[in-house]
């Protein structure tokens, strides 16, 4: 590890440590417990957010006292599509955060093994979502047409636009 030197900044390299569960990491903003650094003015709101949304969680993630991990719109009955999309968002976020970690820790065995496992889960969920609802990527669309040539159509515009709040 590089040591401290005059006239140069130094940030310690992160060591692999405790992780948040896949269901809670997205609500917190990182999978790494060591990198969760809440802001005091955000903590009050959290209590409010948690009570405002109630406890009707799809997978009832354990509420981290520092961060909550609640999403908006949780008080309506969760639908199947939203539940599957939520799973895709959660596993994809694990990959997003791990990708950056592996960019600076390319040899990390624990990171690599989680990356592989989460990547496989995501692939299966993306395929399942395209089959049941609509494709999230152009590749998913091609894959759906391949599996079921009779249903082949250009379905890229199916489903709500992400900014309409349909992906909650």
């Amino acid at each position: 590890m590089t040591q401290e030197h005059l006239a140069m900044a130094w940030v310690p390299v992160q060591q692999w440590g405790l992780l948040y569960r896949e269901e809670e990491a997205l609500g917190i903003g990182t999978i790494f417990q060591d990198l969760n650094k809440p802001f005091f003015a955000a903590e009050d709101g959290l209590q409010g957010a948690a009570s405002a949304f109630g406890d009707q969680e799809i997978s009832a993630p354990v509420k981290n006292q520092q961060t909550g991990g609640q999403f908006p719109g949780e008080n309506s009955a969760p639908r199947e599509r939203e539940a599957l999309l939520r799973k895709i968002q959660q596993v994809s976020f694990v990959l997003d955060d791990l990708r950056l970690y592996l960019d600076t820790h390319p040899e990390d065995k624990e990171g690599l093994s989680l990356f592989k496992a989460a990547g496989e889960r995501r692939k299966a969920l993306m395929k399942e979502y395209a089959r049941q609802f609509y494709p999230l990527t152009a590749d998913c669309m091609v894959e759906t047409c391949w599996d079921d040539p009779g249903a082949a159509c250009f379905c890229w515009q199916k489903g709500p636009a992400p900014w309409e709040g349909g992906c909650v």
Binding site: M1, T2, Q3, H5, A7, M8, A9, W10, V11, P12, V13, Q14, L26, G27, I28, G29, T30, F32, L35, N36, K37, P38, F39, A41, A42, G45, L46, A49, A52, F53, T67, Q70, F71, P72, G73, L85, R86, I88, Q89, F93, D96, D97, L100, D103, T104, H105, P106, Y134, P135, L136, T137, A138, D139, G159, A161, P162, W163, G165, C167, V168
Partner: protein, 212 residues
């Protein structure tokens, strides 16, 4: 090459119209420390980075910033999609409304339009990574300030998520700086520019040793 994935990185579902909040949040779209400038900053800097892994990190963070820009735009859109002219007037959103109606346009909270002056690409790895460390901190401060002012939990949840990402990115840029420093001589990190004076980097150690 980029591929679009039809979902937000973090869910945004805002049910209450609030042009005032939209006007504050739009700064993270087109403001000096916004997600658009973050994305353009990192994606511009990566071509000349001497360490391939650092170039890869810039690609990945620059890509994530595009997803953050999409979240911010979704928030501004949802805060204004049912806007009435009276609400726009009362909230001081009228000036924006005159020029853009409820369309998305990158500007700072104070109305200053987005420009490339908002970010730096200096062609020196140490300089650019320091710029990025500072940029993540500046964006975090903006999210802190937004969280002090905004009370709607539907708006706060995505803001808290984005704030945490700034801290994670800061850590990664710090590690990228360490990687870059490994390629340099710690007795004098500033003897040459690793992005321009490439002959110093490519194993020309004899020359380097003599130089100190």
């Amino acid at each position: 090459m980029w591929m679009y994935e039809k979902r937000l990185q973090f869910p945004v579902k805002i049910t209450k119209t609030c042009p005032k909040t939209a006007q504050l949040i739009i700064s993270q779209y087109g403001g000096p420390d916004g997600e658009l400038s973050a994305s353009m900053r990192y994606l511009a800097q990566r071509y000349t980075m001497p360490d391939k892994a650092v170039g890869g990190l810039l690609t990945d963070i620059g890509t994530e910033e595009l997803a953050h820009m999409e979240m911010i735009c979704a928030m501004v859109y949802q805060l204004t999609r049912h806007l009435s002219v009276e609400e726009a007037k009362a909230a001081g959103f009228d000036a924006y409304y005159i020029d853009h109606t409820c369309g998305l346009w990158p500007q700072a909270a104070g109305g200053v339009p987005f420009t490339a002056k908002e970010f730096q690409s200096k062609g020196d790895a140490i300089t650019d990574l320091m710029e990025n460390l500072a940029a993540e901190q500046k964006a975090r401060t903006v999210y802190d300030n937004l969280l002090r002012m905004i009370t709607d939990p539907e708006v706060r949840e995505p803001l808290k998520f984005l704030r945490t990402r700034e801290i994670v990115h800061f850590q990664r840029f710090g590690e990228a700086l360490e990687k870059t420093k490994e390629k340099l001589d710690s007795r004098n990190f500033y003897y040459f520019n690793p992005e321009f004076d490439k002959n110093f980097l490519n194993g020309n150690t004899a020359f380097r040793k003599e130089s100190f």
